[in-house]
């Protein structure tokens, strides 16, 4: 008989073992990637109109609330209706063919279908007004939209990400005046952080990590 195995066979065995391990690891990451779709950070989805926050916010300096009117008063920031756009574009860039969609929408009432950039599952109840009123700046979640030619997601929006802030809100908070500023930045100074927490009444914040805060 001699040996059951020879060197070649052994090598083959070891190699196949290695490959198997590699496949498992690869598979795992593939799966992770798959369940994240379409929640990818930094990949702007195609839009009916090439709307640029970079231009409107960064260059023209239009305030968030001009279009997202209900952000302070309702759970939803609000997506501007076509006639909101027309308040400027009835005059500006009338003839640019790109705006055909918009004009048509206003004329015959066909609605624009924007791809949702920041989408959370239906069992998560996010409330814009609550965050705004507690000094969470737009930038904390949406990033520097004033630097985005095409709007893209700035944060993963995973529960872990939400929790990070709900557990330690201090370093993200800003004074009410700064909330809508594109430069808004939480302060690193502990004293100031404490002050902000007191100002927004977030000193006792066990409830921030209650399940009921986001799930109903």
């Amino acid at each position: 008989m001699a040996q059951v195995f020879d060197r070649g066979l052994l090598l083959a065995l070891k190699l196949s073992a290695l490959i198997a391990v590699a496949l498992v690891v690869a598979g795992f990451y593939l799966w992770r990637w798959a369940i994240d779709w379409p929640y990818q950070v930094g990949s702007p989805p195609p839009q009916p109109l090439p709307f640029s926050h970079l231009h409107h916010v960064g260059e023209d300096g239009i305030d968030c609330r001009y279009c997202h009117t209900s952000v302070e008063t309702s759970p939803f920031a609000g997506i501007p209706s076509s006639d909101t756009c027309m308040s400027c574009h009835s005059q500006l860039f009338r003839e640019v063919p790109l705006f055909q969609v918009l004009h048509q929408s206003v004329s015959d009432g066909t609605r624009l279908r924007w791809s949702a950039v920041n989408e959370i599952p239906d069992f998560v109840y996010f409330n814009h007004s609550a965050h705004i009123s507690h000094g969470v700046p737009c930038t904390a979640c949406h990033g520097r939209v004033d630097e985005m030619p095409m709007t893209e997601r700035a944060a993963s929006l995973h529960m872990r990400w939400c929790l990070a802030c709900h557990r330690q809100p201090a370093q993200h908070l800003v004074m009410p005046a700064q909330v809508f500023s594109t430069m808004a930045q939480g302060s690193a100074d502990p004293a100031r952080q404490r002050a902000l927490l007191t100002h927004y009444g977030l000193n006792m914040r066990r409830w921030l990590t209650d399940c009921s805060t986001c799930h109903r």
Binding site: T69, D122, S212, T213
Partner: protein, 995 residues
């Protein structure tokens, strides 16, 4: 994904003009409607991989709308043609929930189960959506031309052959329209028919006062109430308010003397369960009792049969009435003959205080051509039709082919009418028999007005454009008299502008906002009692006078030959006369007295059942050959009910529909074929065992306490005065103070609830309100049979016979057990046993002390349900929530996650309402105030049995109720520390010795 708001919102815009929301912000700012809220509710918990979504904003933004912020609109819904004020919650233009209108006298913030279910009716995909002409799809213009072509001829004949058949209505607009039409067609005949209407009531007042009047009661000013087969707690235009008033005098903690309630019933109902003294009697016995009462108080009436089956009971009653002259009321039932109603009027003039305890109003509803009453008007119509004298018939809502008395042969008469138009929300039995069917609008889709039981007028405003292209009665009538302004809105404004004085437009907005037109309550009619000769008792002569039980018992067991029984027809608690048959919420709402869903049953007393040789689950044949020649047969399922009088079989109406829709078709049996015009409420038949069986779909199988009295402590008023803490008397029923666990602090909010068992009348409103608010799915009869009903708050019913429970005056014995109700939602235990055993933290506590259920974390081990001593958790054993029908998705409350298959769910104290109020308060940098959060069950409860609030708020009402001596926790000795507690039931029977 097509969003439901695509269906709804554009219409909202067109309709919203000119309307005002009760909560609409005053400043006019351009608002935008995002659809996230709409889509949010659609895909439920446990959705795996997220899919691409779109945000579809309006092309033209609507006014006054905040995305995701529900708006309440004030309107009114009809109960037997009378208004009950409602506030309808719309989310992004989709009506999703009905609340009562606190300012409306008939509502005071509460509603009936039917009003809750009306939202489902609105979205019901089975609603008729096309106009039919002889079964072919037709168009409105075609109909117009068809009528046009007739109009000339009609005007020539001054409207001879033109008939209108309608349900009772108190709408001033409709009345004015009809009058206008009558002027044009003087010979127009109008019939008003409602299968549940009582003709005895107007006839009775006719006898008593010389003209038809409508009684109005003030139960909050009454010490002794006597009902003669009258269950005024449900199904009446004033029921909701009456319940509130009655209960306001029955809370022992309050200083005022507790009122006492005597109920005489031929069919066990809510009033009997509530009564301190209850007597079950056959209709003829009740009638006789009425005569004896009249006798006792010297009212001219033919001598009644002297012998009384319950002499002691009657003496007790008489004694009480004498003792409280001036503060008593006698309420006659719809089915009682006119004489009894007249006697009641006479008695109330003596025992009550006119103007204080009760009043009479001129009739509020539209009066048919023949003042004789609704049944007569229908009879006249039928005769005219079968005589070929009817050319054109307009049926404005209603289903006479199905619900007209059998012996009228309405269907065959209808067939002889060349042109018949039927306006109805569904293509029902009548639609099929008419030449035209016109889809009707839902009350939420049209303008209109209605008057309440006390005459107060409410405006009805549309909350959404017709979903299924329906038309209103006003539109249809306009075909007969074309006007310039033929649009409802304009007509309504025209009418009320004429009646209002200066600055109409501002008042108009005020009325819409308030939901009623103030100062329209009807003045009390000046009625002088002119009681002349009364007819002799009507039933006394009926052969069934002698009870079945006394018949030879030989027949027991062996299939008995036809045995004479008395039939009692009653509206079904849920589907009423059948107009709610296709409403799944109502179908699955357990009937209070039997916990039966999805169908009706013949209620039979134990002795009669024994005599017939049947028991619950068996079927019997009912045979009838009175009235018209041909014998009618009906096979019905038996339900044995202890309180049912012997020899009487109660048949709930409204079932056995053949053309109700996918939900209602073929459910239960149709009792109308046995209902005769001569005796619409109490018929006769011969009953015999069928030998077949039926399987009831029950939500509660075992309805006895098995001696576990501690679940429902009970005391008479006397005992309560002697020992206020009777509910927590015995040591082991107190909450143990000792515990191994360190107490969790709840510094912020600390929500809690109390349920007053003295106030609960078991009307089921809370159950269905909860269903509407929390997107609770319907599971269907089969799943209910398996025990998988999903209601988050159920009303337990128990038959109890402990000494405190039974009526001390009733010696009859047969019906001495008392029916007890106990609403059971999640107890929100502080030491929740369910949480401890959940392996994945899917049910945990939050810092407000709420026992949460996190649907998207639940993996469905069902361990929590096993470990819940109250068994209030509900599990989605299959995919129950409807994910396919867009209309049903649009119905969902976007603030509540729709649960998928395999997930546990339960009451969360309406968490979504708590969070909404909390955030609203935080936006104003303040705390939530007491009363800002009202749970769905609390809001709907007619008697305010449910209180909810923050235990850390010294002002909270719930603190006061918790402080009551009657406060106790269910299964306290398990030391689960429930946040929901009960206030024990206290009865107020007359001490028998006091005679």
């Amino acid at each position: 994904m097509k969003s439901p708001a695509d269906i709804a919102s554009p219409n909202v815009l067109t309709q919203m003009r000119g309307t005002d929301a009760l909560t609409a912000p005053q400043q006019e700012r351009r608002r935008v409607l995002g659809l996230m809220a709409a889509s949010a509710a659609l895909v439920g918990a446990g959705c795996s991989a997220p899919d691409e979504r779109y945000l579809v904003p309006y092309a033209e933004g609507p006014e006054q709308l905040l995305p995701g912020v529900p708006v309440l609109y004030a309107t009114a819904l009809a109960e037997r043609g009378y208004a009950i004020g409602a506030l309808v919650e719309t989310n992004d233009g989709r009506p999703t929930k009905v609340e009562g209108n606190p300012r409306h006298p008939a509502s005071l913030g509460s509603t009936t189960p039917q009003m809750q279910a009306s939202v489902l009716q609105l979205w019901d995909p089975a609603r008729s959506s096309v106009l039919l002409n002889r079964g072919q799809i037709g168009l409105w213009p075609q109909l117009q031309t068809a009528i046009e072509s007739q109009r000339a001829a009609l005007e020539q004949s001054a409207g001879a052959g033109l008939h209108i058949l309608m349900r009772p209505s108190t709408s001033p607009l409709l009345a004015s329209q009809l009058e206008r039409i009558r002027q044009r067609y003087p010979r127009l005949q109008i019939a008003v028919y409602d299968p549940l209407a009582s003709d005895s009531q107007p006839a009775g007042t006719q006898l008593a006062f010389g003209r038809a009047l409508e009684p109005l009661y003030h139960f909050d000013r009454v010490r002794v109430v006597v009902t003669l087969d009258a269950d005024f707690l449900q199904g009446q235009p004033g029921s909701v308010r009456y319940a509130r008033d009655l209960i306001s005098r029955r809370i022992p903690d309050r200083g005022a003397d507790m009122s006492r309630l005597y109920a005489v019933e031929s069919t066990p109902g809510l009033i009997g369960a509530l009564a301190d003294h209850r007597l079950s009697a056959r209709p003829d016995q009740i009638e006789a009792l009425a005569y004896r009462l009249a006798d006792a108080f010297a009212i001219a009436a033919p001598a009644a049969p002297a012998q009384s089956p319950a002499a002691r009971w009657e003496q007790g009653l008489l004694a009480d009435l004498r003792a409280h002259r001036g503060a008593c009321l006698v309420i006659p039932g719809d089915g009682m003959p006119p004489a009894v109603h007249a006697l009641a009027c006479a008695l109330n003039e003596q025992l009550g205080t006119p103007g204080v305890t009760h009043a009479y109003l001129e009739p509020l509803g539209y009066q048919p051509t023949s003042a004789a009453g609704s049944l007569d008007s229908l009879r006249m119509l039928t005769e005219a039709a079968s005589a070929g004298a009817v050319q054109l018939l307009l049926i404005l809502d209603g289903n006479p082919v199905y619900d007209a008395p059998a012996d009228l042969q309405f269907a065959s008469a209808l067939a002889r009418i060349p042109q018949s138009l039927h306006l109805s929300a569904y293509v029902d039995e009548t639609s099929a028999a008419c030449t035209w069917h016109i889809p009707a609008t839902h009350p939420f889709e049209q303008w209109g007005d209605l008057r309440a039981y006390d005459g107060t007028t409410s405006l009805i405003q549309p909350l959404i454009a017709p979903l299924y292209g329906g038309h209103s009665a006003h539109e249809l009538l306009d075909l007969l008299t074309p006007l310039q302004a033929s649009e409802d809105h304009a007509q309504l404004q025209a009418l009320w502008r004429s009646r209002a004085d200066a600055d109409f437009d501002q008042r108009w907005r005020g009325w819409l906002r308030a939901g009623l037109i103030d100062g329209t309550a009807a003045p009390a009619a000046s009625a002088r009692l002119q009681l002349t000769t009364l007819p002799a008792p009507q039933f006394a002569r009926s052969p069934e006078a002698q009870p079945v039980a006394t018949a030879p018992a030989a027949a027991v067991g062996s299939a008995p030959a036809g045995r004479a029984v008395q039939l009692i027809f009653a509206a079904d608690q849920s589907v009423r006369d059948g107009q709610w048959s296709n409403n799944a919420w109502l179908q699955e709402l357990p009937r209070s007295m039997s916990k039966l869903t999805w169908g009706n049953a013949a209620y039979v007393s134990p002795r009669t059942a024994a005599a017939l040789g049947v028991q619950t689950g068996d079927e019997i044949w009912l045979e009838q050959n009175e009235g018209s020649g041909l014998p009618r047969q009906l096979r019905v399922g038996v339900w044995v009910l202890p309180q049912q009088p012997d020899g009487c079989i109660t048949l709930p109406l409204g079932y056995g529909r053949t053309s109700a829709g996918p939900v209602g078709d073929g459910v239960g049996f149709d009792a109308y074929p046995l209902r005769l015009a001569a005796a619409p409420w109490y018929g006769q038949a011969h009953a015999r065992r069928a030998g077949t069986r039926w399987s009831p779909a029950l939500t509660q199988r075992d309805q006895t306490l098995h001696g576990r009295d501690e679940l429902l402590p009970l005391a008479t008023l006397g005992q309560f005065r002697r020992e206020p803490r009777f509910a927590t008397a015995s040591e082991d029923e107190r909450v143990p103070d000792h515990t191994l666990y360190p107490a969790y602090p709840y510094p912020g909010y600390k929500w809690a609830m109390t349920i007053d068992l003295n106030a609960c009348i078991g009307c089921n409103a809370c159950t269905i309100a909860c269903q509407a608010e929390n997107n609770i799915p319907v599971v269907g009869a089969e799943q209910v049979r398996l025990g998988r009903v999903m209601h988050w708050i159920r009303i337990d019913r128990y038959e109890d016979d402990r000494p405190e429970a039974v009526d001390p005056l009733d010696t009859a014995g047969s019906a001495r057990t008392r029916t007890l109700f106990q609403p059971v939602p999640c107890m929100q235990c502080e030491h929740a046993p369910c949480e401890e055993v959940c392996p994945v933290d899917a049910t945990v506590h939050d810092s407000q002390g709420l026992n949460l259920q996190i649907y998207n974390r639940c993996i469905g081990t069902r361990f929590c349900s096993n470990n819940c001593p109250y068994k209030v958790r509900r599990f989605n054993f299959l995919q129950y929530s409807n994910q396919s029908v867009e209309a049903l998705k649009a119905l969902q409350n976007p603030d509540v996650t729709v649960r998928r298959r395999g997930v546990m769910e339960k009451c969360t104290y309406c968490l979504q309402r708590i969070e909404r109020a909390r955030i609203a308060a935080e936006l104003e940098h303040r705390g939530v105030r007491d009363g800002e959060i009202v749970t769905a069950c609390q809001a709907v409860c007619p008697t305010q049995a449910i209180r909810f609030g923050n235990l850390n708020d010294p002002q909270a009402q719930v603190l006061m109720t918790k402080a009551s001596a009657r406060n106790y926790s269910l299964l306290a000795d398990l030391n689960t520390r429930p946040r929901t507690t009960y206030l024990a039931r206290v009865l107020n029977p007359a001490e028998p010795d006091r005679g």
